[in-house]
Symmetry: C2
Subunit: 315 residues, 2 copies
């Protein structure tokens, strides 16, 4: 009946799980709750239990499982140890060893969840067809997963792709969540976008559709922009200018083939990729102009895809 | 008598050549002139001739040569083609195929000269002991070679490590050599340093040792700085601030273990590494603070070392 791979994406609320065949096709996906009691000590046993139960249900022998990949919301060393994972209550230990012990599966691959999702998008999502991509997540914060030669670039402290904290404005006086001032994330996260939009309509009476909303979200700002609202256009153009500059900076360092945009802000559609690309080209050197900008496609499944992919490409 | 590797570094004036044993020890080094007549068509035959002559002189059989590596002053694709090399008069062709034909040696590895020098420094120079480094060359321009996992990151257009063209000042009105405005190189090249120093003593009569020199070079500026000259200190601190920021940006993208500083400006000694590190730490996020800053050690030999290393690590 062939061979199988389990892809696991551990989040703060639920663990997403996927069973893949040896060709990398997703056969089944499901979720279990993330039980964070007792320092998160139940999380890995629960995952091992879910893997075993699924195998039994489908008549899969443990010897037919090629491996299990796990994406974890924290920094990971190259040998599969977590270096503390506040979200789950975990300290420092080897997740890989623990999963081997609990499941009997020997091939266990671990990665940081953002990097693993980037690998998923490169393999089967917005980045497919490219070996070298930067997957940018535009959510509450801004981060990137960098894939070169089809593999995750982890960085020596697990901090590669922390592009949200690139310093882009030495005159900023507000402090970023990281403690520095003038980080890219302060302008290009969903939070930054909303705060800029609020500032733009406060203390003046310029007409704007954005005034009609009680809770001004990224969607409303982009809807107003698409409808030709002048103030929203200024806000979105400033947003795209900063993001374009941040990605130009990123390209000057690693020269990827494509950028894949995900997270809440990217849900506003192709226009996001388009205006970011336009602004990117203002700031990048000639040899780097011709890059592809795509939207992420796998949504919440990117993590399980990337987790399975780690097992497939592990030497 | 063991096996051998030829490491070749092609420059615009001379070709540097090195013969290494299979343990990577440099046995002999020598130079031949770079003949650029007729579209540089003589360069590779001259190199092939020099390799054969050296082998014959030392009684080395062609079958004892493991391979030849070549560093080339232009962009290189991953399959060993040059994409035009204005310095040598070359158009688009496969250097690797040509060298195979001329020498009969099958394993031929090609890289961009800056990247190859970075590999040399990582292997046997200022970066030894680290798998992940950024080697920054501070000369007429500013460029970097990025080594991750002991291998060169080329980039999809051969433009990885072009950190000299990171946009760092959106208010700059002067145009950089690349056509953009406000590139890192405008502030952190030797040229940028000298031009800032001249500006600092023009149109005012502040006392400064720097006025004593007819031709103000990087060395004189740093000597004045080391001697406590106030104007020179301002100039050097501004220089180090920009460079620290540029390397902080680079670290936010790829998180190396160490930075290795080379080129003319780095010849001013350990103080350069020290002040750049101090300024770097102002701009980088906490997780990335603890990086090593070293000076390059191999000088003009970095290229032949890196060229030989490419052959040793080629799969």
């Amino acid at each position: 009946m062939g061979k199988f791979i389990h892809g696991v994406d551990i989040g703060g609320t639920t663990v997403k799980m996927g069973l893949f065949n040896e060709n990398g096709e997703l056969i089944q996906k499901w979720e279990i709750p993330t039980i964070k009691d007792n320092g998160g000590s139940q999380i890995l046993p629960d995952i091992a239990g879910a893997i075993k139960a699924k195998n039994e249900l489908l008549g899969i022998q443990m010897s037919d499982v090629l491996g299990v990949g796990l994406g974890i919301p924290g920094p990971i060393t190259s040998d599969g140890r977590v270096l503390k994972c506040a979200n789950l209550g975990w300290g420092i230990f080897s997740v890989a060893d623990e999963v081997r012990k609990l499941t009997g599966i020997q091939k266990v691959c671990i990665g940081n969840d953002a990097n693993v999702a980037a690998l998923g998008e490169q393999w089967r999502g917005g980045g497919r067809g490219f070996d070298n991509i930067v997957m940018v997540t535009l959510g509450t914060g801004v981060g990137a997963g960098i894939i070169i030669g089809g593999k995750i670039i982890t960085g020596s402290n697990g901090a590669a792709g922390e592009i949200g904290h690139i310093p882009v404005n030495t005159n900023q006086t507000r402090t970023c969540g990281c403690g520095k001032k003038g980080c890219l994330e302060q302008y290009t996260s969903a939070t930054g976008l909303m705060s800029d939009a609020r500032l733009a309509i406060e203390n003046n009476d310029r007409p704007s559709k954005m005034r009609e909303y009680k809770q001004l979200t990224g969607k409303e700002i982009f809807d107003a922009f698409k409808a030709g609202d002048e103030v929203a256009s200024e806000v979105v153009n400033k947003y795209a200018d900063y993001l374009g500059r941040g990605l130009a900076i990123t390209a000057q360092v690693i020269d990827p083939q494509a950028f894949v945009l995900g997270g809440g802000v990217a849900k506003n559609g192709e226009i996001v990729a388009q205006i970011v690309k336009e602004n990117y080209e203002k700031y990048v050197m000639f040899a780097l102009k011709d890059k592809v900008f795509r939207l992420a496609e796998l949504g919440n499944d990117a993590g399980i895809y990337g987790a399975a992919r780690m097992v497939m490409i592990d030497d």
